[in-house]
Symmetry: C2
Subunit: 111 residues, 2 copies
Amino acid sequence: MLIIRDMLFKQKRRYGQFAESEENIATNILADRLTKLEVEGLVTRQADPENGRQIVYALTSKALDLAPTLIEMILWSAKYDPDTAADRGFVRKAKKDREQLVKDVKSRARS
Amino acid sequence: MLIIRDMLFKQKRRYGQFAESEENIATNILADRLTKLEVEGLVTRQADPENGRQIVYALTSKALDLAPTLIEMILWSAKYDPDTAADRGFVRKAKKDREQLVKDVKSRARS
DNA sequence: CATCATAACTTGTATTTCGCAAGTAGTCGT
DNA sequence: ACGACTACTTGCGAAATACAAGTTATGATG
């Protein structure tokens, strides 16, 4: 979930970027989760043609369709978790035009 | 999550009912989760005045506000998980009038 | 072209959580 | 008074996770 969240909302694409996130996931667990996500058809893995040592992960449409669920989770956190990192603009946009936000999030995550 | 799901959508209120659910949660884990949910302010626990040996659990508004998140999860499952238990009518209603469904679910869970 | 840095993992081990089976405590019905 | 019911606890083996260190392949540097 944390990986998909980072890919959907923070445009992260690489192993090193996931490892940096504030949840401090252990590297063996991260590797394990990435292969499980690949097996479940949620992410694809491919070598970066411009930099052979980098692998670029991408979300499948099955994973992009988790956007509404994650957005609802963010809204709930914004309401009840004082330490939440959700930004104001995001929450406002979600309440104003939810469908459009889902489209925007998916489109950004694809690019 | 499974406990909140059962309370929101299946009107379960008691320990024995949670233990029956198809995920077959171990009783020690169930007890642990219920106290954690209580500590986090998601459920309340009170003895049934009509039957002293039964304890009735209820969702707080903080937990009721998880309804949109859980509904989105159900919709995603209905789309991608062939073994999902989500019923047709529910999915139709969610797509037709989401806000109303959220209200209905909350209202049923409170009664 | 040898060496160093980087990125993506593996491996080993201690710690934590979980699953299963069994047992306990306070009602309640008869 | 006694058995059944409901909500838990307890003990222990198995599995998952966290932490630290090592490995492999590629790209950059002097």
